[in-house]
Each structure stands twice: as C-alpha cells, then as structure tokens.
Symmetry: C2
Subunit: 208 residues, 2 copies
DNA sequence: CGATGCTCTCGACAGGCTGTCGAGGGCGTC
DNA sequence: GACGCCCTCGACAGCCTGTCGAGAGCATCG
C-alpha cells in the first residue's frame, strides 16, 4: 500500500533497487507457488533484507502484486498504442492485437495466473484490473461498431456484450493456458485459436 | 479432507445435519466475503459448534468448499443429462444447455465466485473442476463434430479448441456477472449473450 | 443393570504468519 | 562534530490454524 519516500541514485548497495529487488523476488516466487503460500519472510530473504525492511517499502505482499500488475498492463497498453489503426481491420490486424495480450501475459505468467487468486481479496487489484479491462472492452466495442457501420461485422447482435465476452474469454483462456490447466489450449496455439474465435464472433467466419 | 465415519438418523439435536450445517454456514458466509477472510471460528459459530468440532467433520475450510463444488457440479450434470438429445441441435437447444450453467451457477453464486480464488491453492478443487470441465468440453466437441459431419458448423476451424474456449468463457463470464464485476454482463442478459456467441462461433450466425 | 465401545464435543496447546514499534546505524550537510 | 534523513533491525502482540487428550452422551451386550 505505502510507497517509500524517495531514494537517491545510490553509490553501490542501496536505494530503490531494494524495492525493485522485492518486486522481482515476488515475481520469482510466484512462479513456484500461489501468493497465499508465500510468506513475507521468504520474500524478504529472496530480496536480501529483513522482514521489517520489507514493510518499509510495501504495506503487504498484495501491494507488490499490484505493482507487478501495473507494470504488466502498462506494457500491454503501450504495445497496443503502438499498433497501426487500419481503415478496415483485417484478420491479421485482429491477430496482432490479440498477440499483444498473449505475448505480454505470457512474459509475466506468474502475474497473469495470480490475478484470479488475488482479485477476490484485494480491492485495489480488482479495481485496477476492472479499469484496464474496461478500456480494452471499449476499444473492442468501438472497433466492432465501426465495422457494423461499414456493413461488416454481420454476426454481431450486441457489440458491447460481444466485446465483454470476448475480452473475459481472453483473460481466462490465456491464464489457463499459462498455468497448464487441463483442459486448456497449449500456449503455442492460443493465439490462432483466439483469432479464429474473435473473427468468427465478429464476422461469422474465421478469415473475413 | 476427512469425512465423518457415519451418523444415525438422529432423534433431535445431532447427527450428520451438523455436517450439513457447516456446509450451509460456509455457503452463507461466502456470500459476504471471500474464503480467505473467513475463519474457522466464524464457520463453527455460525453452524453452532466449537472450532474443534469443525475439525471432526472437515479437515479445512477448503474441504467444505470442495463439498459445495461437488454438489453444484452434480446438479449441473444431472440437469444436462435430463436434456433431450436432438438430431439436429437448434439455437433453442444450445440455449437450454447454456441455461443449465447460468441457472445452477447463479443459484450457487458464492461457490461459483469462490472457485477462482481457491483454485490456485487447493489442488483437489482444481482437479475436480478440471475433470468436470473436461467432461463438458468433450460434450461440446462431440456435438460440434457431429454438426460438422452434417455439413453444418461451417465456422469451426478446430472443434476442440473452439469447445475449450467457449467453455472457459462461460466459466469466467458467468462468475464475473454473478460477482457484479465491472465490466461484465448483467445477470439477466448473460444467457442470451452467451447463446449468441456460442451459435455464432459454431454456425457463423447467432440464429442458425 | 452395569460395562464397554462408539460417536461426538470441548478446552488447551504449539507453531506460524502478520503488522507495528522503537531503537538505532550509516551517511551527507551545515 | 552535531544534526537529520533514509534505511535496517529485533522484538512484541495478536490472530489463525491444526492437533491432542479428556471426557459426555447413548446404544449395545453380557
């Protein structure tokens, strides 16, 4: 919850890289077990400091996860913003959008998987995710609506409902795949399968 | 984890309705907060017994949730089995299948929502859910494949991948709706939206 | 009718984890 | 060389969990 006051660009051993060390340690540990099974002792040890030093930087381990989530969604948004906006979205364009999610979530597997676990108990996490998800839903809705106005997207009944469903599917399907749950899609084929389904949901065919 | 040895059909105050009382108490409490924030003290108090009496019946609060999940999925499977098997699935048939999930999950909102939280930490829960989900995915895949053989289901590239995605979408979309997350679909419109998307994913049009 | 056994209940204990506090330790500055 | 700031530490209190042994009620059997 709390953030450190500041830090000077330290000569050697100190500073805000302690904070970074904590965040990295949590991401490492999350690769081995869920957040609930990670104690702050372990995090502190992995980051090379004492337990109470941890509390100087973060109010809880959940706050660290929130930081991790912030980094991840910021990366998603940055890469989405860098994507070209075509006059008429093609399958390739949709695919490249979806690839952003698949890639970034995959690069932060531990965070993606932990989200579902921690969302129930951490309001800040839930709200932050809601905000970002809402943004992506708006984007999707706008794109679909534009396609409808062009006379395409014939398969869509309710653009907003479709967008919500497709985006929530993304979240869960990618997380399940990364966690290796059964049944789920192997990580290598998630992107193509999602693209097929998104295009079908919008245009009625996987390759419009 | 453990189950009580037995119970006689008690005259008045005793028996296995203690066990039922525990399960019901957990479901009640889950309506107000996530499992992680519920202590066994509270459960025992709500069920009218002492904390260690709780441990006579269940090994942990997670074991109670597993019991709750078992009940719920059993109900789903029972109602799915009662559904007629048509020669050619219509939109109405798909809708009535989806209605089973929407209805039963909705009737056990607390359980549906808690699943995502607890799955990360409770292997038995994860495995049980995987088993059931796999069954529904198989059912979906078989149905789609049959449609493909009939020359319908033209929109489907990979029947299994489509089935996995549609079923995982169901899970998450219904849970989000029941939890009142934002963005999500209002509970009243989930069923129609899901039906539209399932039909579109399979046939290329929401109303085949 | 009393002994035995089973089911079930309880209070108490030990251990682990969390979050907080006050006491400093180094280091730059005046 | 005294002060102040950033940071670190050990210790404490509190909560929750899981386990144990000691029984209470009740049925069955000798």
């Amino acid at each position: 919850m709390s953030t450190p006051q500041r830090a000077r660009r330290a000569p050697r051993p100190t500073g805000e890289d302690r904070q970074r060390a904590i965040v990295d340690a949590v991401e490492d540990l999350l690769r081995t077990r869920p957040l609930a099974e990670i104690s702050i002792d372990e995090v502190a040890a992995a980051a090379g400091l004492s337990r109470s030093a941890f509390y100087f930087y973060f109010g809880s381990k959940q706050a660290v996860l929130l930081e991790l989530l912030d980094r991840m969604v910021a990366e998603v948004d940055a890469r989405l913003a860098a994507l070209p906006l075509p006059d008429e979205p093609s399958r390739d364009w949709w695919r490249s959008c979806l690839a952003v999610f698949v890639d970034v979530f995959g690069a932060h597997r531990a965070v993606s998987v932990s989200l579902a676990e921690a969302r129930a108990t951490v309001p800040e996490l839930r709200e932050e995710w809601s905000r970002r998800l809402a943004g992506w839903v708006d984007l999707t809705t706008a794109t679909i609506t534009a396609e409808q106005r062009r006379g395409r997207a014939g398969a869509v009944v309710d653009a907003r409902a479709t967008s919500v469903l497709l985006n929530t599917m993304n979240e869960r399907a990618i997380a399940a795949s990364l966690a290796g749950e059964e049944p789920s899609l192997p990580p290598g084929s998630v992107l193509d399968a999602l693209t097929d389904l998104w295009c079908t949901a919008v245009y009625g065919t996987p390759d419009p």
